[in-house]
């Protein structure tokens, strides 16, 4: 029971991170029908930006308050990563709009290779470890020498995820931009006819996707305290799995899928074997696609002639 509770806490934490990345996949797929392969690497870039911002804030500016530092790091990471993704969309994907369907995917794969190697070249191939940002934990339950702990950083991750999801939901459901996005998702030509600036809306989609990935990246850095240039691929594929599991194109689906993948992964590692934890995630991906291709919340794919 204690183990279960502890794994539940860990799984939700991991799942929040996956969920935030998954939203980026699902939004981009929803609006331009493309699997944004480089999204995992955008997430990795954001973790590096967060690390550099953290070092800058703590050692150069000498800000001691961890709340202020974390807030600054989060905002800086969101800003820069959004910029990076905006430029990527502009250079690598926009010229290919309306081209044949493999072109953006190949371009995205190329971008993914480029980004991870760019970070490797500019920041070095070694793992980068930073001192822990947040220490301390609540002991929820203590019996038979096994304490169920909820650490402050897990609480912070839950809190930030919840706040951001609320803000994001407001953005999509209530604002002009969100309406434009939903319109483009349904029918780009029609949206353009009624005055929606399609190019700008797609750009903004990439910006928002990157901002959410940056939040995930910052929290990943805070949670694990270490990041390397190759950290984009596996979380990226897992987040994509989450998006597919939730039903690609569906925003609540991405969050639920992320939580499920996080839980599956932690429980698998706890109760079976940690060696095959990535196999578990990939198998979930394959099984979902084979038996439930529209996912939990997705619309079934209608075949049109």
């Amino acid at each position: 029971m204690e183990v279960f509770l502890q794994q539940l806490i860990n799984g939700i934490t991991l799942g929040s991170i996956y969920g935030l990345i998954a939203i980026g996949y699902t939004m981009v797929f929803g609006i331009i029908g493309m699997v944004n392969f480089a999204h995992g690497d955008v997430f990795m870039v954001s973790a590096f930006v967060a690390m550099i911002a953290f070092l800058f804030v703590t050692t150069w500016l000498g800000i001691a308050s961890i709340t202020v530092a974390l807030l600054i790091v989060l905002i800086v990471a969101m800003l820069f990563t959004s910029g990076v993704n905006w430029v990527i969309e502009r250079l690598a994907y926009r010229p290919l709009r309306g081209s044949f369907r493999l072109a953006p995917l190949i371009s995205a794969i190329g971008m993914s290779i480029f980004l991870s190697n760019f970070v490797q070249v500019t920041q070095g191939p070694r793992n980068k470890a930073i001192p822990p940002m947040v220490r301390g934990e609540f002991i929820l339950l203590d019996s038979n020498n096994y304490a169920v702990a909820l650490s402050y950083k897990q609480l912070i991750i839950w809190g930030i995820t919840a706040v951001l999801l609320a803000a994001f939901w407001y953005l999509v459901a209530k604002t002009r931009l969100g309406r434009a996005q939903r319109a483009c998702e349904q029918d780009q030509k029609m949206a353009a006819l009624v005055g929606v600036n399609v190019d700008r809306t797609i750009s903004m989609t990439f910006v928002i996707a990157a901002a959410l990935a940056a939040v995930a990246g910052t929290m990943y850095l805070m949670y694990y305290g270490v990041v390397s240039f190759s950290d984009g691929f596996v979380p990226g594929v897992k987040a994509f799995t989450a998006a597919v599991l939730g039903g690609i194109g569906s925003l609540p689906g991405a969050v639920v899928g992320g939580l499920l993948i996080g839980l599956i992964e932690t429980f698998w590692s706890a109760y079976f074997t940690i060696d095959y934890k990535d196999v578990a995630a990939f198998s979930v991906l394959a099984i979902t696609l084979i038996f439930l291709p529209q996912g939990l919340f997705g619309r079934p794919d209608v075949e049109k002639v």
Partner: protein, 456 residues
């Protein structure tokens, strides 16, 4: 942009504005990752160093580049665009296309001789091994995947799985049971195509991107099993001491019954390299030949029809599942051949050789070459693999950028960049015309811009 396209005169103020904007954006985007460097100090703690010089150099290059683009290149492009674009490829290109293949085949056959003539007997080893064999492996993989992606239109991101199955089949069977290369080569192909059918069966109902992702997942699952099933595969450490192929029973060793001794030649390792070169060349030609012949058969025509329109295929009574499975199995078989050759050539394999990056490389060779075009695939393989291999020994760059400059670490960076650039400028690949396998009255090349892609 539109302004400069309409008026042929150059708008200088506008160009400067654009250049400043580009420079500012570059500065903003690169500030964290290039402006700062994280270095571990003596206490093994990360500290920040700044690299303003590098950052501002790059920003300046981008700014000036954008200015030149707006002032010089854009007006020229705008003028060129006024001419109508022909739907078919220009005739000189077709002429080159017709004579390119025989010329390339001839060149591939005399290449080792040429290399030896130019660089000497042992100097040629590097050229034949690093360039010849390495490129040919990718040409073969590209042609194998071309059957799946280019002909049948099924997007496969896990092709490396079959390559791995072939390599591990050869390595394990040769080491544990002592079978010879010539028995195991077909066996590895059969095992790979068996895996192709096994994996293909459940996933072929899926279409397009979904299929791509599931194949990616399978590729990764196979790699992780190779890593974690240590009893069989020896995990990360890999399998070493794999038996090398022999020349019809004669091993390439310095022994008395070795190849050199039997033919009365002095022993050098060059013979083995030459033998491997011609072996992979023959395997690659086999792949190309089989593909060309299959395209004439009903199954090949069904593949191409499937690529263009799946629904039309089904309404015409083509069994799409079987058609897709044959494409998957045959593509996998060639991957298996290439894999067992790879294991035999290296003598050592580990899961590191079968990462997603390999799948992506092969897929991009196929797509960048122009899907379905054999010549295009070969050109793309030479360009990418040869290009990245050449990056290994560009020592003169060290004299320009200083001794700490290591060109090898920029290989994959440029590789990824190249993929994006080629896609942006030639989204249909380098050879983007298609010659139909069957035609009415006369053979016409079709620009692939006119071809609709099915859902696959």
């Amino acid at each position: 942009m539109e302004k400069s396209a309409q008026s042929t005169g150059v708008d200088f103020v506008h160009a400067v504005k654009e250049a400043c904007l580009a420079a500012a954006i570059t500065f903003g985007v690169l500030l964290p990752l290039i402006g700062f460097e994280t270095v571990s100090n003596i206490d093994n703690k990360l500290v920040l160093h700044t690299r303003w010089g590098l950052l501002f150099t790059i920003v300046a290059i981008v700014g000036v580049g954008r200015l030149l683009m707006a002032l010089v290149i854009a007006p020229r492009l705008a003028q060129r665009r006024i001419r109508p674009v022909a739907a078919t490829a220009p005739s000189w290109l077709l002429l080159i296309g017709r004579w390119f293949a025989p010329f390339a085949i001839g060149f591939a056959i005399v290449y080792p001789v040429l290399a030896m003539g130019l660089t000497g007997f042992s100097g040629a080893l590097k050229w034949v091994d690093n360039f010849g064999i390495q490129i040919l492996i990718y040409v073969m993989l590209g042609w194998g995947l071309n059957i799946v992606v280019g002909l049948a239109g099924l997007l496969d991101l896990g092709y490396v799985a079959f390559y791995a199955v072939g390599a591990y089949s050869y390595a394990l069977l040769a080491k544990n049971f002592g079978f010879s290369f010539w028995i195991l080569l077909p066996l590895a192909g059969i095992l790979s195509s068996f895996w192709g059918i096994l994996l293909g069966f459940p996933v072929l109902r899926l279409r397009g991107d979904y299929l791509a992702i599931v194949t990616l997942a399978f590729g990764e699952i196979i790699r992780m099993v190779l890593i974690n099933y240590v009893d069989l595969t020896n995990g990360y450490a890999g399998i070493g001491g794999i038996p090398r192929p022999s020349f019809f029973g004669l091993p390439f060793t310095a022994d008395d019954d070795g190849f050199a001794a039997v033919f009365g030649l002095p022993f050098t390792p060059v013979y083995r390299t030459l033998f491997l070169y011609y072996l992979i060349l023959a395997l690659a030609f086999l792949t190309a030949f089989v593909t060309v012949r299959l395209r004439r058969l009903p199954v090949g025509r069904a593949w191409e029809a499937l690529r263009e329109d799946e629904i039309a295929c089904r309404s015409l009574g083509i069994n799409t599942t079987n058609t897709k499975l044959t494409a998957f199995a045959i593509g996998a078989m060639f991957g298996g051949f290439a894999g067992s050759f790879f294991a035999a050539r290296q003598g050592f394999i580990s899961p590191e050789s079968f990462t997603f990056l390999e799948s992506a490389t092969v897929l991009s060779i196929v797509v960048l070459g122009g899907m379905g075009s054999q010549v295009g695939v070969a050109i793309a393989a030479i360009l990418f693999i040869g290009g990245t291999e050449i990056m290994r020994d560009l020592d003169f760059l060290k004299q320009i950028f200083g001794p700490s400059f290591d060109p090898t670490q920029y290989r994959m960076l440029l590789f990824g960049f190249g993929m994006v650039i080629i896609m942006v400028f030639r989204p249909r690949g380098l050879i983007s015309t298609r010659e139909p396998s069957i035609f009415l009255k006369e053979r016409k090349a079709i620009s692939s811009d006119l071809v609709k892609e099915g859902h696959g």
